[in-house]
Structure formats: structure tokens, C-alpha cells
Symmetry: C2
Subunit: 260 residues, 2 copies
């Protein structure tokens, strides 16, 4: 009975997923395209220096960029010496723009859903993904597929929204009793769907605890090499004082893992 | 100049540490001794089944129990077949009671400060610590010492207060706009001293981000094997409904790591 209910709930979630290609929603896409990181590329993302520090040397590497968006990182990997890059994204809007912005036959862009994507075995030296996996319902399937797509000693480097940032029913700043900017956490251990308004109503994400994410990697055969909970550097705070609030709670988790 | 100020601040912190043997404060000790986990031992700690699942087979093992308190775990390790256990605690009260409650010449109890403790090299198969490391200022020194005290493939299993639990200036329940129990997070990326009132005023703890703790282990030569952010099981919620609030935010982090 519970299994049957679970299957129905799973089916319902799957249907929601298919409908939830939010990046091809015109309102969402119009707002999203104006984000500094979409206009300026990697340098518009304050976490980029920290992400870059997690990346291996790229010379000669075959890279998959899962959730490649406009292809900013895919092109950067090639600039750093990668021999080939496969950029994958669910959004036709994103891939169309990525193709238009790229003049390099060693970069291939593909429209595909990471919930069902299968990559060839041992075909990549690095799998990279920026701020995408929190949209994925079945993380276990995905990391297992990534592990098989990587060569031995291949690297997985990814960023996601931090579970501290995602957990609460109403994830928005509140004040503590002294008026300090404070982030609410509730429902942390209750994993699953979270819906928030971001350029459009009810954007669907999947909350997982940090332990679930890390243990999932280890179970799939990865060794954790480093993690970061992005916070601005002192230099970044001088240049971009609005980043100070990022010291109060981490918005992003950055992970570097190696296939055993 | 900054280095000099840093050294002075360090010295000041060190003096505070020495004064901060809170477990020998009579008010604190009187309250603390009445906690279920002190009266009933391991079974009084709801996270114990999860901790136990992280522990290796104990038969024939040499164990160090850092922050051993009354010696509940030290005695349990012997019951499970450990050949020797060294229990270490800063508190004379705790060690006196541990010795009185133990009739086993293979368990040695020692009063020592984990900030300066040195254990012999490659002398232990398992280092265990429960809810102690968040009192330690110099985690890097401690894990490096533990790494050298363990044999190759030796295990480190420990629990600490979760950084989500510890970060905020006022770590106590608040309500979200729908009245839901909510945990405040601020200052997450600002590591260092936290003072809270717990049986006595101004108990001193050291907040570190999750990334600092995990990366510190990896840097010291450990491979992360598993982590848990303790949440009650459905059975525990039926038996102990008051644990429901633990689903809202994790109070404890449980870590299992192996020396490479």
C-alpha cells in the first residue's frame, strides 16, 4: 500500500518535473537572462574564484557541463585547454543561445533532462555542474550515472544551493531580536520538494540534507576532496559590499570529489 | 601589526580556555549530571543508534575516547571487545566519577586538555569523541594529533554540535510567519567564539563551518566515510514526540572518517 502510494507520488512528481522546465517560461527567462552571471558570464558570479580553485588542470581533458545554460563555463573549459566539452541543458532557450554564442566545433551542446540523461561510460575526465543539481529529483541516479561516465580518478566539481538556504518553508530574511539579518531554517531533515517564487511563481527545487548529498557521492564511488560553503572574501566585500549578507548564511555549496 | 593583534587575541582566548573548564563549575555540573544521557548513559542519547551505526567492529581494538565524561562509552567499547580504552577528559569531576563507576583495568582514565593533549603515534585503532570538539579552539592541531595517534586505516568517529545549531548570536527557537518553529542562522561564515547560557552563563564554544571541519579532516589525511545530521527516526518520534523539533534543524553532526 505504501509502495503503491509512493509510486503514485513518484509519478506525480515526475509529471511536475516534466512541466517544470522553468527556463523556457518567458517571464522566468526574461528575468533570469538579466542576472549579472548571465550578462557578464563567469566573472559575474561571486563564487567563481572559489569554484575555479576546486577545478583540476583542464589541459587535454574531456569535460561534461551539466546544466550548461548559455555555455559560459563550457567555453572557458576549452579556453583552458580541454579537448572537448559536452554542454547539456534542459532549456531550449539556453541551448539556442549557447550555440549562437559559441564558434568551436569541439563544444557540443545538447538538450536533455538530467533526470534521464545517460552519458557513455568512462568518456569524461571532468563532470562539472553549476547550480543545477538542486532541480534534480533523483540525485542518486544522477551521481551513479556520472560515476560511470567518468574515467578512474576523474573529477566531479559542482555547486548547488546550500541546504541551509533551501530548507525553510519561507526562505527569506528575518530579523533576530537585535535586528540582525537572520536566515530561517525549518524542515531541514524533511527532504523533497520546495517551491519558491523566483522570477515566476512556484519554481520547483528538491531539498536534500548536506549528509544525503555527501553520503550519496561516497556511495556512488566518489572520494570527497573538498567542500566550500561560499562566503565572500575580504576583497570581494570591499568591491561588493552587498555581499556582506552572504556571511550570515551560506547560499551555495561547492563540492569537489574524485572517482575512486 | 595584524599578526601581533592576532597573537594577543590568541593568548586571550587561551586564557579563557583554561578558565573555561565548565564541567567543574558546581552549577553546571549539578545540572549537567541530571541530563538523561548522564543518568541513563548511551541509551539516554537519541543519536546513539546513529552513532553506533558509524562505529567499526570493536573486537581487539585499542580505543581513545576524547571527552569521555562519566565513561559510559569507554565501558561500552570494552563490552564490545575492545582490548584497551583510554578515556580523556578535562573535568576532574567527570574523571573521578568515571573511575568510581569502572571496574576494569583495561580502561584508563586521564585528566587532560584536548587543546594540548599528545597521544603516542600509531597507538590506537579508533578515536571516538562525543559532543566535545566544539569546545576546542584549535581543531586543526587536534585532528593532526589524532591522525598521528591512529594506525593506518584507523577510524575517527565523532559527534559535535552542528554548525547550523551553533552559528547564531541568539541560538534559540523563533517563529516563522505561520508560527512554525524555526531556527535562526546568522554569522555562519564568521568562525570563532560563541557564548551561550547552558546551566551556567557564557559557556564558551567554537563555531566552525561544516566545510572547515570536513576540509580539516581531509587535510589531516582522513577520508570521509559518512556523515549524519542527526534526526529522529519514525520509531523514535512515536516513543519520544518531543524529538519532532529535531526535524526542523540538525542539532548534531556525526562524522566517520578513516585515516588514509
Amino acid at each position: 500500500m505504501e509502495a503503491a502510494l509512493g509510486a503514485i507520488a513518484g509519478q506525480r512528481r515526475l509529471e511536475l518535473d516534466m512541466a517544470q522546465n522553468v527556463y523556457d517560461n518567458p517571464d522566468f527567462f526574461a528575468g533570469y537572462s538579466q542576472l549579472p552571471r548571465q550578462v557578464q558570464g563567469l566573472d559575474g558570479a561571486p563564487e567563481w574564484p572559489a569554484v575555479r580553485a576546486l577545478l583540476p588542470d583542464l589541459a587535454g581533458k574531456r569535460v561534461a557541463d551539466l546544466g550548461c545554460g548559455f555555455g559560459w563555463a563550457s567555453r572557458w573549459f576549452r579556453d583552458q585547454g580541454a579537448v572537448s566539452v559536452l554542454g547539456v541543458d534542459l532549456s531550449q532557450n539556453m541551448i539556442t543561445r549557447a550555440r549562437a554564442d559559441t564558434d568551436d566545433s569541439s563544444i557540443e551542446y545538447r538538450i536533455a533532462d538530467l533526470e534521464t540523461l545517460d552519458l557513455p561510460e568512462a568518456a569524461f575526465d571532468l563532470v562539472y555542474s553549476a547550480l543545477t543539481f538542486h532541480y534534480i529529483r533523483d540525485f542518486e541516479r544522477l551521481v551513479s550515472m556520472i560515476a560511470s561516465a567518468l574515467v578512474s580518478d576523474g573529477d566531479l566539481v559542482f555547486t548547488i544551493e546550500h541546504p541551509i538556504f533551501m530548507a525553510a518553508a519561507h526562505p527569506d530574511w528575518i530579523s533576530d531580536k537585535e535586528g540582525r539579518k537572520t536566515w530561517p531554517v525549518n524542515g531541514y531533515s524533511v527532504e523533497g520538494e520546495r517551491r519558491t517564487d523566483w522570477f515566476t511563481k512556484g519554481v520547483l527545487k528538491y531539498h536534500r540534507t548536506l549528509a544525503t548529498t555527501i553520503n550519496g557521492l561516497i556511495r556512488a564511488g566518489f572520494e570527497l576532496r573538498r567542500m566550500e560553503e561560499f562566503a565572500p572574501t575580504p576583497d570581494q566585500l570591499i568591491e561588493m559590499p552587498f555581499l556582506a549578507e552572504e556571511l550570515e548564511r551560506p547560499m551555495m555549496l561547492l563540492v569537489s570529489a574524485r572517482k575512486n
